[in-house]
Amino acid sequence: MMDLPATLTGLQRALSVGELSQHQAIQAQRERLLRLETQFHCVVQLFEEANRPRDDTRTGKLAGVGLAHKDIFDTTDRSPGLGHDRGTLAKGLRAAPAIARLQQAGTSELAALSMAEYACGATGDNSRLARCLNPLNAQAAVGGSSSGSAAAVASEMAYGSLGTDTAGSVRIPAATCALLGLKTTHGLISTKGVFPLAPSLDSVGLLTRSAADAEQLLEALVDENQLRPAARQPRLKAWLPEAGLHASVADALEQLAVEYAVEQRVAHVTEHRLLTSLSEIVLHHETAATHRAALLEGTVSSQVEAVALLGLVLPQPWYHAALRDRSKRARAFVSEHLQGNDILMLPALPQPVPDWTRVSVGNPDFDVRQLLALHSFMGFVNYLGFPSLVIPIARDERGMPISAQFIARPYHERTLLTFAGRLELQRFGNNGFTRYFSPTLQKVD
């Protein structure tokens, strides 16, 4: 069995020196995905080579790289299943621009991945699909809604995955599976051909096993001039909440702040509660608009209804006011936190990665506070539209990741990724996060 490199950039190196051919690389990735998909239950549909360009004839910087994405993107001749079904044949349908750009760079799409139904959920819970397992620990929850993306990348089934993030749906799964999760600036990557949840908050994001891998994918997804150059010596400000954090999370953040000599620290971001409420108003209203017909007919699933129903009763002026206000709030946020600083560091999850039984509605051990905690530091960033990145910074006593979140000004993704790359190298070496957190994982095949 071929031993594939741990990271996308490692694979590129192996291809460039002829250690393996493009054909061998793709075949090995397909074989590995076939072996592992029954183990982690994160694949909705495998893409066969038939009717697709031959993988070994692709050109481009990412030729030979296999990816698999959340089943929310239109793909060639296939309409996505959205966590509701297994997708449908749609002759003539074009791939979403985000997918098309990756294909133009040479990637091969291996599979469509599971997700919370219609992207409504902070975990991978989905009564229509088998429960997606966390490759690091089968008892641990897999965050959502891009749950299949996280499980596939963390189990090394794919070198990277596109997801969508409306209130943390890329960052939460990344934090539960020891991955890098990047929510891009609102509007940076086209959402055309991507099923909406709340269009004002939706962003395409990506999950990878290393910062360098994410840089490679982002370069393929956007034009060179869309992004600002990386800050060479980024200045950090830390938001270290005085209350509400588990001791292990608080300690890990504090150590990081010390290590990076963060001078400016705040215990409160005064507008956090306000911004979170405004993001919820927009989320509920727009989700209700997206699912209005099914909501009124009463045919919507309980998971979607849990998010959308409030939108049906929210007074319209609240929604309009929340949206009108956000340019002002975004300017104020930069002025308070990112003027003179390049990055704001804050918690990703306020608690250790929970067991799935604690955050699965209907389970006897279900604890609603643990479920809500998953996105307590997420939704306000979508309201502001800023880029945000989550990466592991430490390991808790169970060996699970403790992650931090980093926010930058719009279009400053390169600053986030460059900083994440340094941190990754210092703390975890150059073999990606997964083999640090689960050194035996690659042996499952």
Binding site: L274, W318, H320, L323, R331
Partner: protein
Amino acid sequence: MQIYTPAPTPSTDALNAAPLEWTGVVRSGLAQRGNPATEPEILRLAKQLQRLHPAAIEAMSSSPSDRVTDSGLADDSVEFNQTLRSLAA
């Protein structure tokens, strides 16, 4: 082209109502739906409205003009994207 019809707007009194009255706002909103709501469902939604109310009041104290699309979604995307670009510098 669809004509956009705003949903009934609760009166200022209703928006500032005591917790119990939030259930009225919920009942009126859910009246559009075919199936009846349960009391726990109404109470849950009323509590959520009550929680979000202060933020809504703060936002409503700001600027006027609404730009509303056929879908009933407000369209702030042009202005917001300009704001994001200006904040990049």
